[in-house]
């Protein structure tokens, strides 16, 4: 058992990597918010600030060849998958250098290289797709696993249960990660869900579910390892309900009238995933304030570079409107 990655002690280097990965998402999203405010990002933009521990902890549980698919709050997932911040930021600004060459925008980005299957703007629509990706793994007799992320709001979509049923019936290697940030757009879980303990939503499909503190990257990782092992060993799907929180509005146009400022401040002050890990690292003597400041400085440089790239990259050529529609239509 000591060789199981789940049980192995987490090294300082790993912890520092989690810190860096979470901080990259935080700083990237802060900058995206600023660019939005300056009119450089148009349309929709859903920030991941507050939820960083979920994706960073989960990504540590998978390896090359495993797949990731998520909804529209997707910037953090892409960065955690190792996608280049330049390409993500340039897609936000709708430029040729973006991951979808400006055709997708904030909600619709992909990377074949990183096995990242989007970026889906319709609530819950990615859940059957992730299930189908898992089917491909089983069909091809690989031991790959698909992480399928969705929010608490998506758990009320009918097609999610269609997917649960098929995944359990066919024992597909998929982990359903419910990012319960407490609000489906502006509607709190209590006001949108008859059963608010969302990890129980798989019971009638015989899918095991776990509730996880999604503000603690170590706890996320621990639960993630268990779920990924379960799926990889052929036992079928598992559900992880990550109790998390988003500090910003649902989107940039959200006045956030549905919750009190004190609620946000309380979580920020007492449960922030990045501050939490920082405290652990310093208290355990694994890093100094200065070490962590140096990391922040490096990350800010990476993000600043992505902003430059996203502004310098040209807009797509007008003829690009007609490409990637149907294969035959190219060059028309």
């Amino acid at each position: 058992m000591s060789k199981s990655p789940r049980k192995a002690k987490i090294t300082t280097d790993q912890k520092l990597k989690f810190y860096k990965d979470m901080l990259l998402i935080r700083r990237f999203e802060e900058k995206a918010g600023q660019l939005y405010g300056r009119g450089l990002i148009a349309g929709f933009c859903h920030l991941y600030i507050g939820q960083e521990a979920v994706v960073v902890g989960m990504q540590d549980c998978i390896g090359d060849g495993d797949q990731v698919v998520t909804g529209y709050r997707d910037h953090g997932h892409m960065l955690a998958c190792g996608m280049d911040p330049d390409g993500v930021m340039a897609e936000l600004t709708g430029r040729e250098g973006g991951y979808s060459r400006g055709k997708g925008g904030s909600m619709h980005m992909f990377s074949r290289e990183k096995n990242f299957f989007g970026g889906h703007g319709i609530v819950g629509a990615q859940v059957p797709i992730g299930t189908g990706l898992a089917f491909s793994n089983k069909y091809k007799e690989t031991d790959r696993v698909c992480l399928t992320y969705f929010g608490d709001g998506a758990t009320n979509q009918g097609q999610v249960y269609e997917a649960f049923n098929m995944a359990s019936l066919w024992k597909l290697p998929v982990v359903y990660v419910i990012e319960n940030n407490m609000y489906a757009m502006g509607t709190s879980v209590e006001r949108h869900a008859s059963e608010t303990e969302l990890f129980k939503r798989g019971i009638s499909f015989e899918i095991e579910g776990m509730e996880v503190d999604g503000m603690d990257v170590m706890k996320v990782r621990e639960a993630g390892m268990k779920a990924v092992e379960h799926a990889r060993s052929g036992k079928g799907p598992m559900i992880l309900e990550m109790k998390t929180y988003r500090y910003r509005g649902h989107s940039m146009s959200d006045p956030a009238k549905y919750r009190k400022r004190e609620e946000v401040d309380d979580i920020r002050s007492h449960h922030d995933p990045i501050e939490g890990l920082k405290k652990q690292l310093i208290e355990a003597g694994e890093a100094s304030e200065d070490d962590l400041k140096a990391i922040d400085k490096d990350i800010k440089a990476v993000v600043a570079k992505s902003v430059d790239f996203a502004q310098e990259s040209p807009l797509p050529d007008p003829k690009e409107l007609w490409t990637d529609v149907l294969i035959e239509s190219e060059g028309v």
């Binding site: 797949q67 698919v69 973006g98 991951y99 979808s100 060459r101 400006g102 055709k103 997708g104 619709h108 980005m109 992909f110 990377s111 074949r112 299957f117 989007g118 970026g119 889906h120 703007g121 319709i122 629509a125 859940v127 059957p128 797709i129 992730g130 299930t131 189908g132 990706l133 898992a134 089917f135 491909s136 793994n137 069909y139 091809k140 698909c146 009918g158 097609q159 269609e162 997917a163 049923n165 098929m166 019936l169 490409t323 990637d324 529609v325 149907l326 294969i327 035959e328």
Partner: protein
Amino acid sequence: MAKKTMIEAIRDAHHIAMEADEKVVVFGEDVGYFGGVFRCTAGLQEKFGKARCFDAPICEGGIVGAAIGMAAYGLRPCIEIQFADYAYPAYDQIVSEAARLRHRSGGQFTAPMVIRMPTGGGIFGGQTHSQSPEALFAHVSGLKTVIPSTPYDAKGLLLASIEDNDPVIFLEPKRLYNGPFDGEHDKSIVPWSKHDDAEVPDGHYTVPLGKAKIVREGKDVTILAYGTMVHVAKKTAEDQGIDAEVIDLRTLVPLDTETIAQSVQKTGRCVVVHEATRTCGYGAELVSIVNELCFWALEAPVERVTGWDTPYPHSQEWDYFPGPKRLGAALNQIMEA
């Protein structure tokens, strides 16, 4: 060369595609063990195993969504929606995901998949088992929409669709499954065995997507038709003694505008027919295209013969269906203009 029904031709195409490429998987409601409610997938599970041909729960959105995930990761699913009317629960997945994956990923991912569905009326299915929703698919950029009218075309078009790298909606006129129905509903069914286009070669062949077929040559008026209405159009032209050229469009997207334009420029008259409801039906698109490409050659306004703008009826099926009488009246009218 053997004569086959459209069902047998479709089944044959499945066998060939699955033999040729193990990435082809076939599933849907009752598709595996039972072989499909119309028997189009009979024998596939016995031959290729449960991993490649299997039953899905009754959940069209989930079925299409799962197929998109499979297609994005290297498989080529050919799935059945049991009736075209059941595509509505899956419409989100078809429109927002299957059709759009390629564009929104900047060409990184595609969804090479076929969604087969029996379409149209003529079997007293009432409003939820008789509709012709082709315009809802043809309207969606990123999809191809195919509709055969003969066993020969059904096999060749289905193989071409499975081999195509774009998502294809494959509509099978269910009234044609067992015979070339020409609209004479009170007469006994003529089986495919008595029809020339039921000659289906063994082995692999394709009918290219985007190529219409002139199924009856004529010089006085062009009839644009697809699916069941192709047979109605041929029969009506013969009965009325009108020298009509009947074009079977075979694929609605991409559309063979060249064949249409050549014919209408020759005849100077055009009648557009479909079983679907009239308003915003595919016929409206055809009329536009004919006007755009052939306006100065037209001797008369383009006529439309369609289903009425009503829910598909049950007992009044034949009042709804645009059969030989309505088409005949339109042909006579346009010839007098």
